[in-house]
């Protein structure tokens, strides 16, 4: 048996916890320490909009309890920020001034909101929604009848728009792209999602930038590039996230859009790994490195990183853009490519009246992207079909017509072929 090693995981979100579970799953007895700058038990930013809507309470959002870390024989250190990493010595330094030597470091610090530079934005209190204090700050400002301007119609912006509208606020959403949720849905699907929110009173200002923000007597006036001026009581910025990498400056870890990692989630430095929102990892379809700050990718990258940290070998197959968005009893699911490239085949079934939208993108007989609105289907099975490059054969039409059943069946067929056992 080799000697016990010591691993420090910086962060304790989805990727960090998945890595911890993976380390223990391979029976590693190594020492594992997770360090988080927050004082709370781990929680996911994904649960915060549900706090806004009142579906969960603050006490209900932790992903794991204290017991989990005992069970995992790991130590969670809260309220301590890692300020620097010395790659050569294998040391992490904390804001308390201490430093600590370890064998392996896993960077899983996630991401933080990025604010565009808009004149006047910094003069007042623009809200964000990434951390628990953000959520509490937003909640304390919620009052029926008030008006809120949300800048950014990505998932966070749209989800908060729904929550605030539900709570009786007048909501106006500003988006610089022509349609909403552009990262996951094409224009047509985005428009359908938008119209549902519009039915619930949300106003949209798409294709517009915010030119200026003026804070006036407890409220705010948002001037748009097309000339409109939106008056509101609160302003929420949901203009995307960027990886938390400041503390890596000078460490020698290669950073671009995020922390560059190879297929083993290893950075350019042998004993430093990165996973989750912070990592700039391989995209599945193109093989190019990029960011994909969504939960399924964080978990998968965490699992791969964890195994490699523990000394096993695991390879990341690459991420796919994907998301699932539930809004006012409707459901939009998107996996893989949203827009076809040249040579791709697009199959689409759409009915605006019924609110039906079903689209798949194929290349060489293999699924590369899919988006559905209000279908009972497993997004995971679609992901399987893309990642395993399952030949759709004669079933492309069926996949559009009856995506739920067809995706499951094609997945099972592929699994049966892969699993060599032939028992019936």
């Amino acid at each position: 048996m080799s000697e016990k090693r010591k691993h420090v995981i910086v962060g304790c979100g989805t990727a960090a916890l998945a890595a911890l579970r993976a380390i223990r799953r391979v029976n590693s007895l190594d020492e594992v320490k997770l360090v988080t700058m927050e004082d709370t038990l781990p929680y996911s930013p994904t649960s915060l909009p549900y706090m806004i809507s009142g579906r969960v309470k603050e006490s209900e959002i932790p992903i794991v309890t204290e017991d989990f870390f005992d069970e995992m024989k790991a130590l969670l250190v809260r309220g301590k920020a890692v300020v620097a990493i010395d790659a050569k010595k294998g040391e992490v330094s904390y804001d308390s001034g201490e430093s600590e030597a370890c064998d392996t470091i896993l960077v899983a610090t996630g991401s933080e909101p990025v604010l565009p530079s808009i004149p006047g934005l910094g003069d007042g209190q623009a809200l964000r929604l990434r951390t628990l204090p953000d959520a509490k700050g937003l909640m304390s400002r919620i009052e029926g009848g008030k008006t809120a301007v949300i800048v950014g119609a990505g998932l966070i912006g749209m989800h908060v728009a729904e929550c605030l509208a539900e709570r009786g606020l007048k909501v106006k959403v500003v988006e610089m792209l022509p349609t909403v949720l552009r990262g996951y849905f094409d224009g047509e699907a985005g428009t359908m999602v938008q119209s549902v929110l519009e039915e619930h009173g949300v106003e949209f200002y798409t294709g517009r930038r915010v030119a200026m923000v003026e804070w006036k007597g407890g409220g705010v006036e948002v001037s748009l590039s097309q000339g409109e001026i939106l008056k509101a009581d609160l302003l929420l910025m949901a203009t995307g996230v960027r990886p938390r990498v400041e503390f890596l400056a000078g460490s020698g870890v290669e950073i671009g859009e995020g922390v560059f990692v190879d297929d083993g989630m290893r950075t350019n430095i042998q004993n430093i790994f990165a996973a989750g929102d912070v990592a700039c990892a391989k995209e599945f379809l193109t093989g190019e490195k990029g960011m994909n700050p969504v939960l399924p990718s964080a978990a998968e990258q965490g699992r791969v990183a964890g195994r490699n940290v523990a000394g096993e070998k695991a390879e990341y197959e690459g991420w796919l853009t994907m998301n699932i968005f539930r809004f006012f009893d409707h459901l939009a699911v998107s996996v893989g490519k949203t827009l076809p490239s040249e040579g791709d085949e697009v199959l689409i079934e759409k009915d605006d009246k019924k609110g039906e939208y079903k689209k798949i993108i194929c290349r060489d007989g293999v699924l590369v992207g899919a988006a559905f609105i209000d279908e009972n289907l497993s997004g995971g099975a679609l992901q399987y079909l893309i990642k395993k490059r399952v030949d759709l054969g004669a079933y492309k039409q069926d996949l559009v017509r009856a995506p739920g059943e067809t995706a499951l069946w094609l997945m099972r067929k592929a699994e049966n072929e892969k699993t060599v056992s032939i028992e019936e």
């Binding site: 799953r25 932790p62 978990a299 032939i422 019936e424």
Partner: protein, 439 residues
């Protein structure tokens, strides 16, 4: 923590060829019993694609590394260590649906009307869908009880067998069932490393002895009789390869069987001398490639069929003979228990144990290979208990042997005529066992 052999769980088995078109009895019953909890979804779903002729049911795999668990933003999904069930705490579920996006096997039901995600929880050990199915297409396979027969693991970790080799898993299973009151015997071969260890290290914590390949049964006889003289009944168990059991060590084995010594002799059959560089043995099958039965030009692997050693052993009229594979652990368990219960004669177990290197297949496929061997009748599971032959796992509609051979590189060179000949051998041997069972 970690995965070891404590993890045998009960599971649902769905036979997709049996579901009647349009039937949704399982899903209906599930919805009925879970109505209060699952709100909209179900744990099992009927899957019908009439155009493609698909009629089946779909449910969760209860994965050992559940992708749904890792993504849940509020940790509402857990996997139970006691029954292996992956459960969603409905009270805590946000209804965000990310679990359904993460699970590649469609194990979570989350549709447009769903307020929460739902999935199968095996009804806490009494799955109602099984009872609702009109054609018995769903059965509840009980494997959890296997662990109740387990003792402490006498094998430590860190064997130097190849990654994915089923021989270690098999031996570990055998020893967990037999317990520490066992004297293990071995001979040169792949499992030598387990018995002797590497360098100064060993992974075995019970008495063990390495004999020559030609003297394992004789040594066991001596040890057994010595202890008997001393007033002790010591369980003597051999775990040796086919080279030892069926070739050079066959005479002493036959001799011990003739004397009906009270020993348990287990042959892990990898159909060749894998430890020394994949030479043919007398259990190498017809057409099988080895370095000494190559497939080049007109030579197409081994020319003659394998020696049917378990049947020969049964012909010695010893107390108990059985074939087994680790891919059917319940079956293997029963056979081990029967062998252990024999106090007045010899037991012989012939266990098919694929060799990744010598047979040519991916390292994660060993269990699938042995199951395929059974399901094609290439390696039928049977036993002969004091002269009574019985098939212990009858395959309803066996697939052609090609469904097995196509999985292995060692058969890759075989042409239609050769495969037909192999099929003939498989059929003939199976018919013999079947006839013996009926006799």
């Amino acid at each position: 923590m970690g995965q070891d052999m404590k993890t045998f769980y009960d599971t649902l088995r769905i036979r997709e060829d049996l579901c009647p078109p349009g039937c949704s009895a399982c899903a209906d019953r599930c919805r009925e019993v879970k109505r209060d909890r699952m709100l909209c979804g179900t744990g099992i779903r009927a899957l019908h694609l009439p155009e493609a002729g698909v009629h089946t049911a779909h449910t969760c795999n209860q994965c050992s590394e559940p992708a749904c668990l890792d993504v849940c933003p509020v940790g509402a999904i857990t996997k139970s260590a006691s029954d292996g069930v992956v459960r969603i705490d409905d009270g805590r579920c946000l209804g965000c649906g990310v679990c359904s996006l993460a699970c590649p096997y469609g194990g979570v039901d989350f549709g447009s009307g769903s307020k929460k995600a739902s999935k199968c929880d095996l009804c806490d050990g009494d799955p109602q869908c099984v009872k609702a199915c009109p054609v018995e297409a769903i059965s509840f396979m009980k494997a959890r009880s296997i662990t109740s027969h387990f003792h402490d693991d006498p094998l430590l970790c860190g064997s130097s067998l190849c990654v994915g080799c089923p021989a270690e898993t098999t031996l570990r299973f055998v020893l967990r069932v037999m317990g520490r009151e066992t004297f293990l015997f071995g001979a040169p071969g792949c499992a030598t490393n387990v018995l002797n260890g590497m360098g100064t290290r060993t992974m075995i914590s019970i008495p063990s002895h390495m004999s020559n390949m030609t003297s394992v049964p004789s040594t066991m006889t001596g040890v057994k009789r010595y202890y008997r003289k001393m007033g002790k009944d010591v369980r003597c168990v051999a775990f040796v390869g086919d080279g030892c059991a069926t070739d050079v060590g066959f005479q002493p084995l036959s001799g011990a069987a003739e004397r009906n010594e009270n020993i348990i002799f287990i042959c892990y059959d990898n159909e060749g001398y894998m430890n020394t560089g994949i030479q043919r043995s007398s259990t190498t099958p017809f057409g099988g490639w080895t370095t000494t039965t190559p497939a080049m030009g007109r030579r197409k692997g081994k020319k003659m069929s394998s020696k049917n050693v378990p049947l020969i052993m049964a012909a010695h009229d010893i107390a108990y003979v059985a074939t087994a594979v680790i891919g059917y652990p319940e079956d293997l368990l029963n056979k081990l228990l029967k062998a252990m219960a024999v106090k007045d004669g010899m037991s012989y177990l012939h266990i098919l144990s694929p060799c990744i290197l010598g047979w040519g297949y991916p390292i994660d496929a060993s269990l699938d290979i042995v199951r395929a061997a059974v399901e094609t009748n290439y390696f039928p599971l049977w036993e002969c208990e004091r002269g009574q032959y019985r098939l212990t796992h009858r395959v309803d509609r066996p697939k052609p042997v090609t469904a097995y051979t196509k999985l292995l590189k060692k058969f890759a060179h075989l042409e239609k005529a050769d495969l037909e000949e192999l099929q003939g051998i498989v059929d003939k041997r199976f018919n013999t066992i079947e006839a013996l069972q009926e006799a």
